[in-house]
Amino acid sequence: MNRIYQFIDERLHLGPLISEIANHPVPDHANLLKTPKAIIYCFGGMVFFILLLQVLTGVFLMFYYVPSPDHAYASVTYIRQETAFGGLLQSVHRVGASAAVVMVMLHMLRVVLTGSYKNPRELNWVVGVFLLLLVAGFSFTGYLLPWDQKAYWATTVGVNMIAGIPLIGGFLADALRGGSEVGALTLTRFFVIHVMVLPALLTIFLAAHFFMIRRQGISRPL
């Protein structure tokens, strides 16, 4: 291990880079080891941890999942009933989705209550709003994928809510469904949005979020 690291470090001089990333003190008011109250500063990191778990379990679920009306339900049933640990992975992915939403809410609540959205961190709040929309987008598109009754009707209702937007609502809803009804085209759209489009956007916005946190530091205690 050490020799491999040395080999790479001799050539690439990772030392300074690593200390640039890892070697900076957490302010006392946000340090759980110094004060238990700092737990409120952990929610953002918890969201990030859950998202990593979602990516990992999601990638593995895709080994069996088929985004087509005639196989989606059967493939999910197969995952649950016939693979080893499939039920566990699906449950982790499902519970993780809910937990991510809860943690994002708590994280936002912390940012509001400590007033951290104020100058100079307004831009990071704006990026945060996009992150919130992305997390919601994951939940909405992911919910359709098992293609059971609940999935189908929840999506029917959800897209009809979008259809309620004045003027452009009807068009938006049709674009999202790939037609006037939830069907095969909706399923493939939602699948690609869920596993390709949203992860790419999430990566970009998370990078911006974390860059700004490092650049600006955590806000001072109240």
Partner: protein, 160 residues
């Protein structure tokens, strides 16, 4: 390195070890289910069992006959029909043998050439005799023998 930093060294070591332990714990507890999930279909037994493919009186001794048989196999989340070909051969002593038609080189389907009395592979020139022995070409092994049983003049084979 000032004295403040020196004092912090063991603490730093403690944290590095702590991080290693946590990462190791999560890594291990995740990798077992993930690897098991990925590999589990491979470990499932999915053998079709005995399949009836021919009647004994229809065979001529010494003359292999290619028979295509079908069976339903659970293929992931769906049932799919598998079609395969076996050659059945009535030996001079009346015993029945069966061979898979898959060439032992790289798996092409061999055919029986009655004039030459040889199995021939279309892919790289593999040639086998009526008993499945390699005569020419790259195949490393004789044609695979399938388990055979005869009940009431019906021939059954079993691939497993």
């Amino acid at each position: 390195m000032d004295s403040e930093e020196k004092k912090n060294l063991p603490r730093r070591k403690f944290f590095i070890n702590g991080i290693k332990a946590v990462v190791g714990f999560f890594g291990l507890s995740l990798s077992i289910p993930l690897a098991g999930f990925f590999i589990s279909p491979v470990l499932k037994k999915n053998a079709p069992g005995w399949i009836e493919i021919a009647d004994v009186p229809a065979l001529t001794a010494g003359e292999p006959v290619g028979i295509t048989y079908k069976y339903a196999r659970k293929d992931g989340w769906e049932m799919s029909e598998i079609r395969k070909t076996a050659f059945v051969l009535k030996q001079a002593d009346g015993n029945i043998a069966a061979f898979s038609n898959r060439c032992t080189h790289l798996g092409c389907g061999v055919t029986w050439d009655p004039a030459a009395r040889r199995f021939k592979c279309p892919c790289h020139g593999g040639v086998f005799d009526a008993q499945g022995k390699v005569l020419e070409g790259p195949p490393p092994k004789p044609l695979a023998q399938l388990a055979v049983k005869v009940e009431a003049n019906k021939i059954f084979i079993n691939e497993a």
